[in-house]
């Protein structure tokens, strides 16, 4: 069992890569990313400082994002961690059969509003799919991108969970490897209203099953044909601030007090 912890006292970033909404100097079309082992010295990295830093008051890890440089395949920008089972590499990931657990304590203390007052949304946790090189070649894609099976949002003070479902439940290999084979479910909100307060989210994945629990109280369970067929993909966890706005002047802060992943 591999366990990777992150908290105010003992920040262990040895299995996480950070992406920030700032362009690289050598390639202005890509955002800056810092992997292990360099990420361990995040406090000494001038590029990271505004976007990824330790709050001097409560020791939380702060993720700040506003609309700027995005990654490939995306329109929103982010200050977000990407799990790396093998430090410094995106190549080693996990399947649902191998399983995984992510638990975090976090808050969304600040986010801006749009022109009529709707608060901008933030994705605070994800499980992202990834094509293996063989799968990529099989369907003739030019990168390893696959959809996220799980997106957890902070949405106007509530926690909203969205998953992917097959548009055609009978779809088989290799159709199910295509991004367009998957659609969004309608989403579910937890009953508890978190507002700007601290809360705990736990995601558990095993063969054919995914659960999401808020504050060790209410749990959403996902299983059935969609999750079964998702078993074909490799996955990785993401945590932080994937900011869902392109409005000028908008921004959000997300704070992580604890973050732990195990397999």
């Amino acid at each position: 069992m591999l366990s990777v912890g992150l908290n105010a006292q003992n920040i262990d970033l040895s299995h996480w890569k950070i992406t920030i909404p700032k362009s690289r100097k050598d390639n202005p079309n890509k955002p800056i990313e810092v992997s292990p082992p360099e990420i361990k010295d995040f406090a000494g990295n001038e590029d990271l400082k505004p976007y990824f830093y330790k709050d001097p008051e409560d020791g939380a890890l702060v993720f700040y994002a506003y609309p700027a440089q995005t990654t490939r395949n995306t329109k929103y920008s982010r200050s977000e961690l990407r799990e790396q089972m093998e430090p410094g590499s995106n190549k080693v990931n996990w399947t649902f059969a191998q399983g995984g657990r992510m638990r975090g304590t976090l808050s969304v203390p600040e986010t801006t509003q749009d022109d009529i007052g709707d608060y901008h949304r933030v994705i605070i946790m994800q499980i992202h799919g990834r094509l293996t090189n063989e799968q990529r070649d099989l369907i003739g894609e030019d990168d390893n991108n696959a959809p996220p099976i799980l997106k957890i949002y902070w949405d106007e003070g509530r926690i909203r969970v969205k998953t992917k479902v097959l548009k055609d439940k009978k779809a088989k290999m290799p159709e199910i490897l295509h991004e367009k084979a998957w659609g969004d479910d309608k989403g579910r909100n937890f009953k508890e209203i978190v507002g700007t307060n601290k809360f705990t989210l736990e995601v558990n994945v095993s063969k054919g099953k995914m659960t999401v629990t808020l504050n060790d109280d209410e749990t959403f369970t996902y299983e059935g044909v969609d999750i079964d067929k998702w078993g074909v993909f490799e996955n990785y966890f993401k945590a932080g601030n994937y900011f869902q706005s392109r409005d000028k002047g908008s921004y959000a802060y997300v704070k992580y007090y604890e973050l732990e992943v195990s397999h």
């Binding site: 986010t111 009529i116 700007t196 921004y251």
Partner: protein, 268 residues
């Protein structure tokens, strides 16, 4: 310009602390809709004191602590409303409009309020709807009628009308109507009553009690208006209350202000 933008957005960000609840209303059980098209319920509504988008219309009076609801037409908004809407819609389950109550379950709304400003046009005051009791088809009824989504119809409208309180309700055109026909808008027509008391711009209390085929509307300690007939008994919709200041005009310069000193709903 950049600095101005930054300041603008700092002023509308969130507080790190939870809002104190109001003692004169359960704010989590309402959904607000403003003339600008702004909508808010549960946490977002509870944060209204820090929300500059709510403030021009919905705020606490700094002197007496009352909730002030202002209505005036706003240009270029996303509001689809025919008139100038500043309303609170009851939500038994915070954040959801899908849980409502039947006539059998009943509900009582009690409030103390005051219309403190009403604009005029051609020497006549504009009107505002202070309360509504709306019926809405349940999930089952919606499905049975073959509708894509639920449809709603007010059973009761309570309007500030020329300094008096007018009560309008729906009655069956034909009392022998039965079944799904009762859910059709065309089966119903309006029936108007009016309290004789001149309320004007004074503070007053109102009580709207709905239970098992009976509706009672009372102002202060005056004689109530009571409805207890086939039309009430045959009301099969699920219901919710609306309270606020729903100004019945979009005329430029129109402006009304209603202050709520308390607003309570119970379903005991």
């Amino acid at each position: 310009m950049r600095i101005a933008l930054v300041i603008l957005f700092i002023s509308c960000t969130l507080s790190a602390h939870a809002q104190e609840p109001l003692d004169f209303m359960d704010i989590m059980n309402w959904r607000l809709e403003l003339p600008s098209g702004y909508k808010a319920s549960d946490w977002k509504l509870s944060n209204f004191r820090k929300d500059r988008f709510a403030q021009p219309f919905f705020y606490l009076d700094s002197l007496d602590g009352a909730l002030v609801m202002e209505a005036f037409p706003v240009e270029g908004t996303r509001s689809k409303s025919k008139y100038t809407r500043n309303t609170l819609r009851e939500q038994m389950q915070p954040g959801s409009s899908d849980v409502n109550w039947t006539m059998k379950e009943g509900g009582v709304l009690e409030a103390e309020l005051q219309v403190t400003k009403m604009s005029q046009e051609d020497g006549k005051y504009h009107k505002t709807i202070l309360f509504q009791l709306d019926g809405r088809t349940s999930e089952k009824q919606t499905e049975k009628l073959g509708l894509a989504k639920s449809t709603s119809m007010p059973l009761l409208k309570i309007t500030w009308d020329n300094e008096r309180v007018k009560v309008q309700r729906r009655v069956l055109k034909n009392e022998s109507t039965v079944g799904d026909q009762l859910l059709s808008k065309s089966a119903w027509e309006n029936d108007d009553s009016r309290f004789s008391k001149k309320i004007g711009f004074k503070k007053f209390k109102i009580r709207i009690a709905v239970k098992k085929g009976k509706i009672e509307v009372q102002i202060d300690d005056d004689t109530p208006i009571i409805y207890r007939d086939t039309s009430v008994k045959q009301w099969y919709f699920e219901n919710y209350f609306i309270a606020g200041n729903y100004l019945q005009t979009k005329s430029p310069g129109a402006h009304s202000i209603v202050k709520y000193y308390y607003l309570k709903v119970n379903h005991d």
